[in-house]
């Protein structure tokens, strides 16, 4: 069950242009959190009413703190990026359902700001892992932190590092093998991952993103089209914040 808390920021650093890493001390949320879940972060400024959903990048081993790595995408995330060690922030979590832990040779695919949740997943999965990370250009982040957990492959849109192109180009070029895919990234990337998984008959778990208001399943803002009628909504769409954000690729229409 999610809780709303005021959490202390224990560190805030910039990893790349517009990309920040923040550690929050919040044991109650950290104890319950699992890879793929997210937190709602609230602005101190009341003229920005809605929480920002941000995925969990790491859970400290002693379960006292959580790490969030996020992109400054607007005024809300800009406000977060200016908070300093010792500042307090209103948070709710853990929200949503994380990645199912399958004990099969895994391919972890992260694109852009979809990379952070893959780090805790990489730490938690007890199996052989290949990690494919896609960036726009040479301004990468977190890539070195994945090295202890598996073979890491990079792609960049401009070809400045790794394979020129997207994550699927990297998967094909390096002939990355696996029996299950875990992915998080922009929707076009997830479409490519879904198509690749279908083509190779591999199970794929994908974490989706959408604009959210409540973050707890009440407002029905963040829905995604589904293949079958959803048990809760009774129509062909599902709540990303509540039933997701992680879905089996074939269950959702992108």
């Amino acid at each position: 069950m999610a809780v709303q808390k005021r959490a202390r920021i224990t560190s805030q650093v910039q990893l790349a242009p517009g990309i920040f890493s923040m550690w929050l001390e919040e044991a109650e949320i950290a104890k319950k959190a699992s890879p793929g879940q997210f937190l709602s972060l609230y602005c101190n400024s009341e003229d920005r009413l809605l929480p920002r959903p941000i995925s969990i990048c790491e859970i400290k081993e002693d379960r006292t703190s959580l790490r969030l790595v996020y992109r400054v995408a607007g005024k809300g995330t800009e406000e977060f990026s200016k908070l300093k060690e010792g500042d307090m922030i209103q948070v709710m979590g853990p929200l949503g359902n994380g990645f199912p832990m399958e004990k099969k040779k895994a391919i972890l695919i992260g694109g852009g700001i979809g990379i952070p949740p893959m780090l805790e997943l990489a730490k938690s999965l007890d199996c052989e892992k290949s990690i494919v990370l896609g960036y726009r250009d040479k301004n990468t982040f977190l890539d070195k932190e994945f090295l202890p957990y598996g073979q890491v492959y990079l792609s960049t849109e401009d070809g400045s590092l790794g394979v020129k192109g997207n994550v699927i180009d990297a998967v094909r070029q390096y002939a990355v093998q696996g029996a299950v895919i875990y992915a998080c990234g922009p929707t076009p990337m997830l479409r490519g991952v879904k198509a690749y998984a279908l083509e190779h008959n591999i199970t794929a778990w994908m974490s989706l993103e959408e604009r959210m208001a409540c973050g707890i399943g009440a407002c029905l803002a963040c829905v995604c089209k589904t293949k079958e009628k959803d048990h809760h909504t009774n129509v062909d769409n599902t709540r990303i914040c509540k039933e997701g954000p992680v879905f089996k690729a074939e269950a959702v229409e992108l």
């Binding site: 959408e210 604009r211 009440a218 407002c219 803002a221 963040c222």
Partner: protein, 303 residues
């Protein structure tokens, strides 16, 4: 300390306190029960319920604005049968009044839901003739006095519970709509629904919402809502439930003083899942501090 009386009566239905939820911001209460004791609420007003399931609009369905938000959910809901079989039994576990918000595309749609709910354990019906985000029905019924009066009259023929007509602010003079609903036999009014607005992504050169327009809510609309509640309360004899940007007990007190018999907390639930309970506490604190023994003493006190 002397007990403060916070009970209010709307169309013969007594609420323990004057606070309910604004339709669409609280689901059927299930998602909020982890945060708030639903027994504390005067009433729970559900998300709009239609006769058959509605899929709603494409995403993006929401956009934040300065001190507010736009939504264009499009009244997605599982339909009245799922509501009756799943959501209503959940709500009936709590000691609170249940108000079901009813939506439809045609008059017949509204009437079928009203009739289906007639033998259910529902305390009041709120008829949504003011949703700006659906192509048919909704606001189409709420923007002209003849159709407001006619739909109210039709609903009243079938309804077994008291009927609250929910009014749109997207009209030239909301008092005319209020009078039409009263003439049609409405037992109470609720206002305001959201104000139609839009937002543009200047880098994509596109509307932010897939629906292009959405309904504005939150603190940004409060002064407008308060003015309209006051105008309507001074115009009709039936009770008014006031809403629009209520975040705190003080905001709620303003609406009560403007003439609302009760208030609804809406967008605040998205920022703070405890908002309803905090508004109730805030009302109680104000009454205690001001030495007011009965909340009814302040209703319409500015008029």
């Amino acid at each position: 300390m002397k007990m403060i009386n916070t009970k209010v009566t709307i169309a013969g239905v007594e609420w323990d306190n004057p606070v309910t939820t604004a339709s669409g911001t609280f689901g059927s209460g299930m998602e909020f029960a982890d945060f708030v004791d639903l027994n504390r609420l005067g009433a729970v007003t559900t998300k709009g319920v239609s006769y058959v399931p509605w899929t709603g609009n494409p995403v993006p369905r929401i956009a934040e604005t300065c001190s507010g938000m736009l939504n264009a959910i499009g009244l997605q809901n599982p339909g009245v049968e799922v509501f009756i079989n799943r959501d209503l039994p959940f709500l009936k576990q709590y000691d609170t009044r249940v108000i079901v918000n009813v939506c439809g595309k045609t008059t017949e749609d509204y009437l079928k839901v009203v009739e289906r709910l007639s033998d259910c354990a529902v305390d009041m019906l709120e008829i949504n003739i003011s949703c700006p985000n659906v192509k048919e029905g909704g606001i189409a019924f709420g923007q002209n006095t003849c159709s407001v009066e006619e739909i109210t009259r039709q609903v009243k023929r079938y309804a077994k519970q008291p009927v609250i007509m929910k009014l749109s602010p997207n009209v030239t003079d909301i008092r005319e709509m209020a009078k039409a609903a009263e003439a049609g036999g409405a037992d109470a009014l609720s206002l305001i629904n959201t104000l139609t607005g839009t937002k543009i992504d200047i880098y994509k050169r596109k509307f932010v919402l897939a629906n292009e327009t959405g309904g504005l809510s939150g603190p940004a609309v409060k002064p407008v809502a308060l003015r309209m509640v006051n105008q309507v309360a001074r115009t009709v004899k039936i009770p008014v439930i006031g809403m629009g940007g209520i975040m705190t007990g003080e905001d709620a007190i303003e609406f009560l003083m403007a003439g609302a018999t009760a208030v609804a907390v809406g967008t605040a639930n998205f920022r703070n899942p405890l908002a309803t309970a905090e508004v109730i506490d805030g009302i109680n604190d104000f009454l205690a501090k001001e030495g007011i023994q009965d909340v009814k003493e302040i209703i319409g006190c500015v008029n």
